[in-house]
């Protein structure tokens, strides 16, 4: 049974005239790594808010069809029930950090689950270690740089050991190397722990090679769904999606009449060109 399932689902925020997500039919299996992208306002964030029940519990509005997460219907599930299963990392870490030390911040979630002290300690160490912030444990989150703060936010969510990890543009505040290390960490969580990952990103150069599946939304609808290589060979750039630059390059070369495939990584692009130039 799919872990996340939408059937004819639409959602219209109270006070809004048109639905922000419309006619969504989708099934995501446990353990998938899904990259969700599309232009601003396409419905990505609304989709993510459904996953942890912020819709409809926190953001009221009109719901049609069904949306199920881990077997629970979001129209009836309680936010605190979904919060245990679905961890959410927001774009701006400042919006989710509040403690006076990194360690306290990471411990907050598991403390609220009422776990034994030892287990809390173990989870906090594990989560800090995974994202590489153990040395920051005594620092106040507000003193840290944007990138470090995002790592704290991710650790605090991981400490809840969620089944689904939703990350809404988690790397936008990070320098490229930190972004890469965060994305690789996420890929590791997906591979080793089998955690389902829903990653919202505009920057696809780093993320597209890690994901099993890409969803592209536009104007509230899911318009493309499939394996990254297949999707990026299509007209994804017309939807305002920031393709990896080597992919863009080969799309342009194809327009020039050179139809030699569409790579999604530098290595692939290099091999294709080398083949032509040898």
């Amino acid at each position: 049974m799919p872990q996340i399932k939408a059937e004819g689902f639409s959602f219209t925020y109270s006070g809004s005239k048109s639905p922000s997500v419309r006619d969504l039919d989708l099934a995501i299996e446990r353990g998938e790594f899904v990259l969700l992208t599309g232009p601003s306002g396409c419905g990505k964030t609304t989709f993510c808010r459904c996953l942890n029940g912020l819709i409809p519990n926190f953001y009221p509005g009109h719901l049609e069809g069904r949306f199920e997460v881990c077997g629970m219907d979001i129209a009836r599930a309680k936010t605190y029930e979904l919060a245990k299963l679905v961890g959410h990392v927001f774009q701006n870490p400042e919006n989710q950090l509040f403690s006076l030390s990194v360690e306290r911040e990471v411990a907050f979630g598991p403390e609220n689950l009422g776990l034994p002290r030892e287990e809390i300690r173990e989870r906090v160490e594990w989560a800090m270690e995974l994202v590489g912030i153990s040395d920051l444990r005594d620092r106040a989150p507000y003193e840290l740089s944007g990138g470090q703060q995002q790592k704290v936010a991710i650790a605090s969510v991981l400490a809840m050991r969620p089944e689904v990890l939703v990350l809404d543009e988690p790397t936008s505040f990070l320098d490229p190397k930190s972004a890469k290390s965060i994305l690789e960490t996420i890929a590791k969580l997906n591979e080793e722990l089998g955690m389902t990952v829903i990653l919202v990103e505009h920057r696809l150069d780093l993320a597209s090679r890690l994901a099993d599946r890409v969803l592209i939304m536009n104007e509230g609808r899911l318009v493309l769904d499939g394996e990254p290589r297949r999707i990026f060979g299509k007209a994804a750039h017309l939807l305002g999606v920031g393709l990896p630059k080597v992919t863009l390059l080969f799309q342009m070369l194809r327009e020039d009449g050179l139809d030699v495939g569409i790579p999604i990584t530098v290595e692939e692009a290099s091999a294709i060109l080398r083949g032509l130039l040898d």
Binding site: G38, G41, S145, L258, L273
Partner: protein, 278 residues
């Protein structure tokens, strides 16, 4: 002209964020300040409008030492747009927000309204004029923050991470917009991690690491320098990595964007009469 001489800045907790920075930015220049999280980029630009004053050394804006001027005085010529728009937005509507500074500077209501409508149009925000900034998406709020500074027409415009939360099309528009105000003679300084954005806009690049400037030159030079880029925790543009991997086949180093790579590759293929090319 922005002149920074021997600038050292120490935060009250003793952390030395800037460790002797010398930098001169001429009127009308377009400069990107890049580097890892915590490199001191934001700390540096906060000196440009006097929000921070040097611990040692000095900063001159058009010949005036920032220690001898108030932030309000400096703000007339230096407009700083923060990384996090929520730090600067507070009004009930987008229109009020954007008009705030102009009213403060004592412009007549007629001029205020004319300028506000014009800047909202330029930044694609007209439809949100009567909306609360807090109901907008992160990317939209970012543009509101930009509008609220550009509206008073400062001579030097400083943008801290302007591309965060912007999708591909908005980034293209932002780039055009920056080029446009730069062509009109404004100094534009952006602080950014967005290597691909810089690779396409091609400003002068000042690379920082650990409170010092470690590189300064044309985007093509700095961003294709593997060691330098690595030292600043950046990742080279994909196209630069591609060009490097094929330099033995005659692809010139210093290519950093897909458009120049496309021409260079077509030229190479034509020279070799590659059969795949019609």
């Amino acid at each position: 002209m922005i002149e920074v001489e021997g600038l050292v800045f120490r935060y009250p907790n003793g952390f030395e964020a800037l460790r002797g920075v010398d930098l001169r930015i001429g009127d009308g220049e377009f400069v990107a300040i890049m580097g890892e999280n915590g490199a001191g980029k934001t700390t540096l630009v906060k000196h440009f409008n006097g929000l921070l004053k040097p611990t040692l050394g000095r900063v001159l804006i058009d010949g005036v030492d920032t220690r001898d001027a108030s932030v309000a005085e400096l703000a007339r010529s230096v407009g700083l747009v923060f990384q996090n728009p929520d730090r600067q937005l507070f009004s009930e509507t987008v229109r009020e927000e954007v008009a705030f500074a102009l009213r403060n500077f004592g412009f007549s209501e007629e001029i205020v309204s004319k300028r506000v409508e014009r800047i909202l149009g330029m930044l694609d925000l007209s439809e949100y004029a009567d909306t609360s900034p807090f109901l907008l998406s992160g990317g939209e709020r970012k543009r509101v923050a930009l509008a609220s500074v550009l509206v008073w027409d400062p001579k030097h415009v400083i943008l801290d991470e302007p591309t965060i939360g912007q999708d591909h099309l908005q980034k293209e528009r932002l780039r055009d917009f920056i080029m446009q105000i730069n062509d009109q003679g404004k100094t534009v300084v952006i602080v950014t991690h967005d290597v691909e954005f810089v690779a396409e806009a091609k400003p002068r690049v000042v690379l920082m690491s650990k409170g010092e400037i470690v590189g300064d030159g044309r985007a093509e030079e700095v961003l294709s320098d593997r060691d330098l880029v690595d030292r600043a925790s950046l990742i080279r543009p994909q196209i630069s990595e591609l060009a490097d991997s094929l330099s033995d086949k005659g692809l010139p180093r210093g290519l950093i964007d897909a458009y120049s790579a496309r021409s260079a590759i077509l030229r190479l293929l034509r020279e070799r009469h590659v059969p795949e090319l019609p």
